[in-house]
């Protein structure tokens, strides 16, 4: 067993982990944030996605010990006290989810994309979503949601986002 420090959604945590523990289970069961989901444990579905030091990562494919000292953002950390993130708003507006199980990957990957490029090309949008499986939506509304979020991101400077 080994102590590690993690900052999750701004809160500092110190937890003792087995070297074999996967980050996804440490986040879910030790830190108690269950918004990060498990769909495959093989890195294929993206339901376990978190942001690890600024980059999205599939937390089922990360050993918790290797994340020692890192800053993590989970789906719970996407909204701010002021309200939902524009990406969340766009997914809600466009019906970009049904059961919601895939949302950690869909939302955090979209956020990362728009942080890097507020005006992404179509191929980049598809590539971003391609790493995450959704069995419910058929992706059409997810792609629409990403585009809507991108439009909002671009217009944010000109006109304030409605809550």
């Amino acid at each position: 067993m080994q102590p590690i420090r993690l900052t999750v959604n701004g809160d500092k945590h110190e937890v003792t982990v087995d070297p074999r523990d996967l980050l996804v289970y440490v986040i879910r069961e030790r830190i108690g944030l269950t918004g990060t989901n498990v769909g495959c444990l093989t890195g294929d579905c993206g339901a376990c996605t978190v942001t690890l030091d600024g980059r999205t990562a599939k937390s089922c494919s990360v050993l918790a010990v290797t994340a020692d000292g890192s800053e993590i953002r989970t789906i719970e950390g996407l909204a701010s006290p002021a309200g939902l993130d524009p990406v969340q708003e766009a997914f809600w507006k466009e019906n970009g989810f049904q059961c919601g199980y895939c949302l950690p990957g869909m939302l955090l990957a979209t956020r990362e994309l728009l942080d890097e490029d507020p005006d992404p090309a179509e191929e980049d949008i598809t590539r971003t979503i391609d790493g995450n499986l959704c069995r419910c939506t058929g992706y059409t509304t997810i792609l629409r949601a990403v585009r809507t979020a991108a439009r909002r991101a671009q217009h944010r400077d000109e006109r304030p986002e409605r809550p």
């Binding site: 087995d18 074999r20 289970y25 879910r28 069961e29 944030l33 269950t34 918004g35 990060t36 989901n37 498990v38 769909g39 495959c40 444990l41 093989t42 294929d44 579905c45 339901a47 989970t74 789906i75 719970e76 996407l78 909204a79 939902l84 969340q88 997914f91 809600w92 507006k93 019906n95 989810f97 049904q98 059961c99 919601g100 199980y101 895939c102 949302l103 950690p104 939302l107 598809t126 590539r127 979503i129 391609d130 790493g131 995450n132 499986l133 959704c134 069995r135 419910c136 939506t137 058929g138 992706y139 059409t140 509304t141 997810i142 792609l143």
Partner: protein, 792 residues
């Protein structure tokens, strides 16, 4: 008279009520429940496809760290009886066997649960499970349904005389005679490989046995909480009143999570015996074992020279895998009875045999067998068109049941309530610009680039009722208003993730005359909701919505009576609108609903004198058209209503690699009145994508020993965003005369139509070489084989 704000009433695309919880990660799926003292279970599964258990050695597991219980099949059988069937094959003239939560004697597939372990942690449970040693006396196994029908085949269940689970013939007229008189007869053998539903959330259960109160609480990812409670009571010998089943937020289901699976009873038994809360969440490998479909159809279809189909004979061999208490085995019934779909073919005979093999069982799957009928029927219609050199759209138009002919009784006995199938074809062809796409195809062919256009019609019988089973055609809802006007809707239908709670709230808001924000919907809790049947067969909005409307009307009537008294008006002259009771002729003469509710409940002997002071009603809704009295041919009519749609897929085939790309797709869809168009569209897109997956990439592959090889998402390939085009969706609304709101059920339509449209499109793309598509999925090697076979 009802009214409501346009953003919320029936027909509005109200956004999902649970959106904020889902988008912020607050929604609780089954794996998110962690009661105090929680322990974890792992299941030991058979490693042979067929065999008798000789010994189970648990010594290594019992002494492993953290282990509190190891249970064998023999021990489990002392505490738990067989699991009752969701739909009993025996009552349909078929065969059944006892299904146990852990098999004590005879294993019939690789993966069958034979022992289980409870430990402090998931990892400890898994390591201990790996330490259980089971020895088997292997028996010969059979993995293929055709082989299983041979007289000398191994028998999956040794005391059966053969491997046939169930056999039945469907249809009417004289099909052989019709074929005899036809100008052309096309025939073919069509195979649908085994695929699976694969929701991203696997199945799971958390059982907590309270030894003091002798009460069991189960949280589960399950579509049918009340059926689960009954079946746990039967298999565990507990009173139903001692069991509470709560179906958590569900991460997709598609039939997989219908009730009847061995682990449901198992996890509860483990909790009772270990006296600890126990969680079991299946891993992806376990989840992928459940088959969704696997059939062979041998069909002959006769037609006149003008394309009129005159007769159809089909022999279906459906592969059940091993037996299951879940509803999955019964899907083949619908494959048979959905023929001849929406076409006028009075002379039709379908012979069905369901065959046991040594593969894992089928679980119910979106489409519920109807999907297979569409792949085959639509292939057959295309073969007729090709043989006669007619446009495939025109052949369909010629054979469709006409818009004026409804209700129309098909040869297999289904009484189709309403529709306009030619109208759907017009809309889909317009959406895709059919002449333009054919022109594109011509140009591409000149360049040697295969592009194909595939058309497929799909009829989706919905909201079924099967007499004497838990497949119920009605459901029940309570609408309850509190002192403050807050409304709680408790309904027997559940949501697998599609969001029908939003649609039900819209209906209640409209019927009750209050804003949708005042309404809470409670689903999936046997202690709170009225006895109901959960979700399957596109029923939730038909019967959940219908019963909610009836209950809401009762409450509205009381509000109106008492509100009118407060206003000193005649109730007949008042209405409940936007959260107020008001005079119809003087809208300013109004009183807020919360004030009326308060008066009903606090002034029962004054303002509410002579009124029964209850703001609550529980009502059941039974749609029309269902008729279980067998007609002269023994046919029953188990469906109130029939959705329909028409698909057009455009594909490009890479002749070098065999890869198929779906480049454009249109669907014209008719599910009658739409309660919430956004929810309907979401269902349709999801179903089409699932159909494209099983048409092109998804296949459960077993090795010669019956072991699942495609056991993860790297080898079982679900469509990703880059694999599907953005869909064009057109709506047509022919309201059902047999349901309260004219809605027909949405959610299943798409799977079979997409399989058929993609298959037809691939064949159309390869028409210049003369290839014939006979099987799904059309993976690159299969497509290359098709090309080679045709050019040989």
């Amino acid at each position: 008279m009802t009214a409501s704000t346009p953003a919320a009433g029936i027909g509005a695309s109200t956004r999902r009520r649970d959106g904020a919880a889902l988008l912020t990660g607050r929604a609780r799926y089954v794996d998110d429940y962690r009661p105090h003292g929680l322990h974890y279970a792992a299941v030991v599964r058979s490693t042979v496809a067929h065999g008798r258990i000789r010994s189970v050695d648990v010594s290594g597991a019992e002494t492993a760290p953290g282990v509190v219980l190891v249970l064998t099949g023999e021990q489990a059988a002392r505490h738990a009886g067989p699991i009752p069937y969701f739909i009993s094959p025996a009552t349909r003239g078929g065969r059944e066997v006892d299904i146990r939560c852990l098999e004590p004697e005879l294993v019939t597939y690789v993966g069958q649960p034979v022992a289980a372990v409870v430990a402090r942690s998931r990892v400890e449970a898994q390591s201990a499970a790996a330490a259980v040693r089971v020895e088997y006396d292997s028996l010969p196994h059979v993995l293929d349904a055709d082989t299983a029908l041979l007289p000398d085949s191994p028998r999956v269940y040794p005391d059966w005389q053969d491997n046939v689970v169930f056999a039945k013939t469907y249809g009417a007229g004289d099909a052989e005679e019709a074929l005899h008189g036809a100008d052309v007869v096309v025939s073919g053998e069509f195979r649908i490989a085994r695929s699976t539903t694969a929701p991203v959330e696997p199945r799971g259960y958390v059982a907590s046995w309270d030894a003091t109160d002798e009460a069991l609480t189960v949280h589960g990812s399950c579509q049918n909480p009340h059926q689960l409670r009954y079946m746990l009571s039967a298999s565990l010998g507990l009173a139903e009143s001692a069991i509470r089943v709560v179906t958590a937020k569900i991460g997709g289901s598609f039939g997989l999570k219908m009730q009847g699976l061995p682990e449901e009873t198992l996890v509860c038994l483990l909790s009772m015996l270990s006296r600890r809360p126990v969680k079991w969440i299946e891993d992806r490998r376990e989840s992928l074992m459940s088959g969704a479909r696997e059939q062979i159809h041998r069909i002959r279809v006769g037609a006149k020279a003008d394309g009129t189909i005159t007769g159809l004979v089909n022999r279906i061999v459906a592969d059940a895998g091993a037996m299951t208490a879940q509803a999955g085995w019964a899907m083949c019934n619908m494959s048979a009875s959905t023929f001849p779909s929406g076409y006028r073919v009075p002379d039709c005979r379908v012979e069905l045999r369901l065959v046991a093999t040594n593969k894992p069982p089928l679980s119910a799957a979106r489409g519920f067998g109807k999907d297979a009928a569409h792949f085959v029927m639509e292939r057959a219609v295309d073969l007729v068109a090709r043989r006669l050199a007619l446009d495939p759209g025109e052949v369909r138009r010629r054979n469709f049941i006409r818009a004026g002919e409804f209700p129309y009784r098909t040869a297999t006995g289904l009484n189709i309530d309403s529709g306009d199938f030619a109208g759907l074809l017009d809309k889909a062809q317009a959406a895709i610009d059919y002449p333009a796409v054919r022109e594109l195809q011509r140009r591409r062919r000149e360049q040697g680039r295969p592009l194909g256009v595939g058309i497929a019609f799909e009829l989706t019988p919905e909201s079924s009722d099967s007499p004497g089973t838990f497949v119920s055609g009605f459901d029940t809802t309570t609408v309850r208003m509190s002192l403050t006007g807050r409304v709680t809707v408790l309904t027997g239908v559940t949501s697998p993730g599609g969001g029908n709670d939003t649609g039900i709230a819209q209906i209640v808001g409209a019927e009750l005359g209050v804003p949708v924000e005042w309404i809470d919907v409670v689903q999936g809790d046997t202690d709170r909701c009225p006895t109901g049947f959960g979700n399957f067969s596109g029923r939730s909005m038909v019967v959940g919505g219908g019963s909610a409307a009836l209950a809401a009307r009762d409450v509205r009537a009381t509000l109106r009576t008492v509100g009118a008294r407060l206003l000193e008006r005649d109730p007949e002259a008042c209405e409940v609108v936007d959260g107020t009771v008001r005079s119809v002729s003087e809208p300013d003469c109004a009183v807020p609903v919360p004030e009326v509710a308060h008066a009903v409940l606090t002034r029962a002997f004054a303002a509410a004198a002579e009124v029964e002071p209850v703001l609550e009603s529980t009502r059941a809704y039974k749609p029309g058209n269902i008729d279980h009295r067998p007609d002269e041919l023994g046919r029953i009519q188990p469906y109130p209503t029939y959705s329909s749609c028409l698909h057009i897929a455009v594909v490009e085939v890479d002749a070098e690699t065999g890869k198929v790309d779906v480049v454009d797709y249109a669907m014209a869809h008719d599910c009658g009145t739409m309660i919430n168009p956004d929810l309907v569209e979401g269902q349709a897109w999801g179903a089409i994508t699932m159909g494209i997956g099983s048409a092109l990439t998804e296949q459960l592959v077993f090795d010669a020993g019956g072991r699942l090889v495609s056991d993860r998402f790297k080898s079982y390939l679900l469509p990703r965003a880059g694999d599907v085009p953005e869909f064009r969706l057109e709506h047509q609304v022919t309201p059902s005369p047999f349901t309260m709101h004219g809605n027909k059920g949405a959610g299943e339509a798409g799977v079979g139509g997409a399989q058929a449209a993609v298959a037809n499109a691939v064949e159309d793309a390869l028409a210049p070489v003369g290839a014939c598509v006979r099987s799904l999925p059309l993976t690159p090697p299969v497509v290359l084989d098709l090309i080679e076979e045709a050019t040989r």
